[in-house]
């Protein structure tokens, strides 16, 4: 009955106020409401969270790990984006 298999959802949890939601795993559920309820039962049995997001896995677009070297190269080669690239005269301790 694979056509009837419940869709897969990715679960994101905010562990406390002030922090981002973080991916914690996935689960299967027929709809968003059930996905939320299941996420609460499966991923927060020990006060791990104060807020949950669920997103259908099929809706996520991801970068391809096979291309990751070329894809992220522009950020690796621009050392001048980091403060350590710059020379400061002696006497300046904090900037």
């Amino acid at each position: 009955m694979s056509t009837n298999e419940w869709p897969l959802w990715e679960v994101f949890i905010r562990s406390k106020q002030g922090l981002n939601h973080k991916h914690v795993g996935s689960l299967r559920a027929p709809d968003a409401e059930m996905a939320l309820q299941n996420a609460r039962d499966v991923y927060t049995r020990r006060s791990e969270g104060i807020s949950i997001w669920v997103v259908q896995s099929a809706l996520i677009t991801a970068s391809d790990p096979a291309d990751s070297e070329a894809y992220f190269e522009p950020s690796d080669s621009k050392v001048y984006r980091h403060p350590t690239f710059y020379d400061l005269p002696d006497g300046i301790e904090h900037m």
Partner: protein, 311 residues
């Protein structure tokens, strides 16, 4: 040309493993690595799920409300562990339903320990203390396994397991402080669960066909015999402290090795149970198949409801 690329990819893959860089779902991996992981993680998932049955047997008969609440929470955790692991299996490209059907058809196994019956309340103590204890030994090592989703599931599982073993030991220790009959009940559970717990670590290193490759891929981080030895070393003093006897006349501290020596495991029994001839194999699979079949209409109705409300 094509084979050269495959070789290069395999080389890069092994280099990542050797550098302890985790492998993630969409990364290139050898087919055999994927297959080994699917086997190992799904076996682990099934063990969590089937493992709920022997303990579920005692929930309604727990001796106090406290014990009942604890046992319920523990069994619920095991369901959660099964779910984390089914999700991890799915990241390798197999469907959950296929995975579950492989359990039901007997194609994929679960831990042989769950094919033993739970005859008395003391068995809840022996299982929590020894069976979860053995599982923890294995799972702590797996927190550093090379496949990212598996390692992350293990970290979460290990955090949750810590009370499982304690509640079991507490049951044993309470019984050992009780009446003569209670002490006998605890010792009887110990006698029945000790050897099957040692078998949980799997065949000896010499006999284990997957160990070598699994170690090279860092799917496994310690051999079966290493983990079994750590388990014996940890459990003996715990048993002695509460007055339980280890049912092994050959158990003796070996000063030179710095470990306990222990008697030979009855591997014939192990293979019999793995092969389907344990006391409860049939009952366990029947219970799982029944749960799937009788839940079918619920899953269908939920899906139909979701589709209807989408439009």
């Amino acid at each position: 040309m094509e084979t050269l690329t495959q070789e290069k990819l395999a080389e890069k893959f092994q280099a990542k493993i050797d550098a302890d860089i985790k492998i993630e779902p969409n990364d290139w991996m050898p087919d055999t690595y994927r297959k080994s992981l699917i086997r190992q993680i799904s076996q682990h998932a099934h063990s969590e799920i089937v493992g709920m049955l022997p303990e579920g047997n005692w929930i309604t008969r727990a001796p106090s409300l406290r014990r009942k609440a604890v046992l319920l929470a523990k069994v619920q955790d095991e369901a959660g562990h099964g779910l984390y692991l089914y999700s991890a299996t799915e990241t390798l490209g197999v469907s959950r339903e296929e995975t579950i059907d492989d359990l039901h058809s007997g194609k994929v196994k679960y831990s042989s320990i769950f094919n033993y019956p739970t005859l008395s309340w003391a068995d809840m103590g022996a299982i929590g203390w020894l069976v979860d204890g053995a599982a923890i030994m294995n799972q702590v090592a797996l927190c550093r396994t090379s496949y990212g989703p598996y390692a992350r599931a293990m970290v979460k599982i290990c955090k949750e397991e810590s009370f499982h073993q304690r509640q079991g030991y507490e049951i044993m220790s309470t019984l050992m402080n009780g009446t003569e009959a209670q002490r006998e009940m605890a010792q009887d559970a110990m006698n029945r669960f000790w050897w099957p717990s040692l078998m949980m670590f799997g065949p000896s290193d010499a006999e284990s066909k997957h160990t070598e490759q699994s170690m090279r891929w860092r799917i496994k981080r310690h051999t079966n015999d290493e983990l079994r030895q750590s388990f014996v070393d940890a459990s003996v003093p715990q048993a002695e402290l509460i007055g339980l006897k280890i049912p092994d006349p050959n158990l003796v501290w070996n000063e030179a090795r710095g470990h306990y020596d222990f008697g030979a495991i009855d591997w014939e029994e192990f293979w019999q149970v793995v092969g389907g001839n344990g006391p409860c194999n049939k009952e366990r699979i029947e219970a799982r198949v029944k749960a799937k079949e009788e839940g079918e209409w619920v899953r269908e109705a939920a899906m139909a409801y979701a589709k209807k409300h989408k439009s």
